[in-house]
């Protein structure tokens, strides 16, 4: 083990830009240890695809919508399914958190970090909201500054220790508490077959079987029903804000509703090759079509936002489009759950 680590000390961290921070960190960090896994494969095995609408969880007075599973879940599931042992810690104080980060970096291990976007100076200002569930990799130091591979950035970057500590120890919900994680034991030989089966099974279950109205395809219908009545319920001004937030949650930073659908379709395509199941290729193509339906929804929602014409007709139409997305995804995941893998 020591020998291997020494070799890795010389190896520069290989940064690849990805669409989503969490699946991107998995893909980049696992590759560092010789476990080649694409971002869509990590997303699929981690059953990252999801939908949830939480009208009572408000950020700045606007209800939240999510198109993916809760932060951290993808990483946890992928590690478990591939048999990678992960060390994961949170800290009571920034000093302890930064010390431990330095200690692990000195061993030549790249470290995954949970951070707030607001305190990352290398982000374009327009993107810097108090979003606390961003993932990035620190892979070394240059003087005092930390070398950062942020998966959604094209290039690697640097960050000063003060900003990094602020980002890691941001307050709010969910507070990252300096969370850091890194593989301590990576198997030499990994088979993707069973992890893919488990991931697909879980995704189908998450999308179809959660017995609450806010989640999975039921959640899409739940949001569709509420969206129809936004103008009369909360007024024109807020309706536009609510709608804008749905689009932002859906489209921001390359992932979102459609983006995650395309990424999952890319996963199904890759899985079809590994498991030698043509049905998965067909379902991948079908999901690509569903992603396009989501895009169409976002496009029309964007128009409503732009014109600010909060008439009930346009909201009704958008609601119908969401219902369409729900119907199509329900059919897809029912088919997917019946594929003999």
């Amino acid at each position: 083990m020591d020998e291997v680590l020494e070799v890795m000390n010389d190896t520069h961290f290989h940064h690849v830009q990805t669409a989503h921070c969490e699946s991107g960190v998995i893909s980049n960090i696992f590759r560092h240890y010789g476990l080649q896994i694409s971002e869509p494969m990590a997303f699929g095995i981690g059953a990252g695809i999801f939908f949830g609408h939480l009208p009572f969880v408000k950020v700045n007075g606007v209800p939240g919508t999510t198109y993916r599973v809760v932060p951290g879940a993808i990483f946890k599931r992928v590690a478990k399914r591939l048999g990678v042992k992960i060390a994961s810690q949170t800290f009571s104080s920034p000093e302890k958190g930064m010390q431990e980060l330095d200690r692990v970096l000195e061993q030549g291990r790249p470290v995954g970090l949970l951070s707030s976007v607001y305190y990352l100076p290398y982000f374009p200002p327009a993107y810097r909201f108090h979003f606390n569930a961003h993932n990035l990799v620190a892979y070394g130091k240059e003087g005092d500054n930390y070398l950062i591979s942020d998966p959604i950035m094209e290039q690697v970057t640097e960050i000063d220790p003060k900003s990094l500590a602020e980002a890691r120890f941001a307050k709010g919900f969910p507070a990252p508490k300096g969370k850091m994680y890194y593989p301590v034991e990576v198997p030499k030989q990994v088979s993707f077959e069973q992890p893919i089966r488990d991931g697909i099974k879980q995704a189908c279950s998450d999308m179809l079987n959660i017995p609450l109205p806010m989640f999975g395809v039921k959640g899409m219908r739940f949001l569709a029903k509420r969206l129809r009545h936004y103008p009369e319920k909360v007024g024109d001004r807020k309706a536009v804000l609510y709608l804008g937030n749905i689009i932002r949650m859906q489209e921001e930073i390359g992932t979102g509703g459609a983006g995650f659908r395309f990424m999952y379709a890319a996963f199904l395509q890759e899985a079809a090759g590994i498991l030698k199941r043509d049905e998965l290729s067909a379902l991948s193509a079908e999901l690509t079509g569903i992603g396009d339906t989501w895009r169409n929804f976002a496009f029309n929602a964007g128009r409503v936002c732009k014109s600010r014409s909060a008439n009930n007709v346009s909201y009704g139409e958008l609601s119908d489009m969401l219902m369409q997305c729900a119907a199509e995804e329900e059919v897809l995941f029912r088919k997917l759950s019946k594929v003999k893998l």
Binding site: E154, G254, M263, E270
Partner: protein, 132 residues
């Protein structure tokens, strides 16, 4: 989404350099990564979110200058925080922070408390007291 359909609607919010990665299909239907400089609906939604923020900041500023609220309320809007978030940054209950938004109460705040607010907003106590 086909590779050629990946939107390239740049706007100045990305500062012309921030590119995002998407998965899209090539001519053979195979998924490939493609970068995009932005997409119109997202740009609209983002711009709208910032307009809303800026409006709230301006409104708060006017109210501070009119003596209706304290600078705490203004800087809270300016740093895009909400009451629960600001309260956790300064280690107070929400109702206490709300009280500190009253100009009369704000005037009586201790230097330590002012320092905590200034740190949360990443400004000096001087800037906290005198908003422009």
């Amino acid at each position: 989404m086909k590779k050629d359909d990946v939107p390239q609607d740049g706007n100045n919010m990305h500062e012309g350099q921030f590119k995002q990665l998407f998965y899209a299909t090539d001519n053979a239907g195979q998924y490939v990564p493609v970068t995009s400089v932005g997409w119109e609906p997202e740009n609209v939604a983002m711009q709208q979110a910032w307009e809303e923020i800026n409006e709230r900041v301006e409104k708060a500023r006017a109210r501070v200058l009119a003596g209706e609220i304290s600078p705490v309320a203004y800087y809270m809007e300016k740093t895009i925080m909400d009451l629960p978030l600001l309260a956790s940054y300064v280690g107070k209950f929400q109702w206490q922070v709300k009280r500190h938004m009253k100009p009369a109460v704000f005037k009586g705040l201790s230097d330590i408390m002012l320092q905590r607010y200034a740190a949360a907003f990443k400004i000096t106590v001087q800037e906290l007291k005198n908003i422009k």
